[in-house]
Amino acid sequence: MKNPFARGTEHAALDDRELVALAKRDKEAFGQLYERYLEKIYNYVYYRVGNAQDAEDLSARVFARALAHIGKYEDRGLPFQAWLYRIAHNLVANWHRDQGKRKIIALDDYVAHGLKSEAPDRLAEERAERDQMLEAARRLPEDRQQLLILKFVERMSNAEIGEIMGRSEGAVKSLYHRTLLALRDELRRTRTGGESALRENEG
């Protein structure tokens, strides 16, 4: 008879629901969930806080909290990752509250892969454009930031995003449209502000 608490590679074949049930008693099962979701949670946190060090700290706390509370986890039909994202969302919100709302932090190790061989001027220009885009995105409301990260970093479908954000697929689609328009306006404001400051300095 197959041992239901078998460890090691057998865990990899289990789905999330089975793993979560095992993880309440078996830490190796939790380890499998950790391996499955660390990268996603880390990326989510990274783009919310803007630097690798805080992303590591907060990701560690997300999994520590998940481990501490997994015994009380109830399957309500939502994917397990929705629960992890909820923990991450709450910890990031606390972090922003502690740091001061809307504080913009440079993306310290935002190094674009594959651009290293290009001319330094072009590299600097592209990096500045990306920083500007990411900073503008981080001035959007939390739900819009979350949507962009899930859609562009995690490459989730609207249905998957809806499960995590507790919205219908149609609502996610509408939110995406509004998010793009808000981002466009935010970038225009940033560029207009930058040009005005430049004119003032020249004048």
Partner: protein, 119 residues
């Protein structure tokens, strides 16, 4: 419009030509072109980040070794903090060496001189 934007996003991801969608947008073409530019920029900006293998392994150990609720900071000390600590240590050692070499009378002499100097 939300549907068109969804299709535009999918087309851009797949490297397909989006001109038919822009035509389909009619009066909203300008808005869709703005969205096209934003989507391309978002695709370029939101890239998956790699996790430090040391961090991943150490956190796994911390969690599975029964100390999950007390996960310590596993990140390395930043380089500038390490340099500052080394400089402070070197300065401290230098000060101690100088005091040993020149004895502890020197500050006393200076102090007496200062008292003897008329205002």
């Amino acid at each position: 419009m939300p549907d068109l934007i969804e299709r535009l996003t999918a087309a851009l991801r797949d490297g397909e030509d989006a001109s038919a969608l822009l035509t389909e947008a009619g009066d909203a073409r300008g808005e869709l072109e703005d969205c096209q530019s934003l989507i391309q920029s978002l695709e370029a900006s939101f890239r998956p980040q790699e996790i430090r293998p040391d961090f991943e392994a150490e956190l796994r150990r911390e969690l599975l070794n029964g100390r999950g609720a007390r996960v310590k900071r596993v990140r390395p000390t930043p380089a500038r903090v390490r340099v500052a600590a080394l400089l402070a240590l070197a300065a401290g050692l230098l000060l101690l060496m100088l005091r040993r070499l020149f004895g502890s009378d020197a500050p006393q002499e200076i102090s007496e001189e200062a008292v003897a100097t008329p205002l």
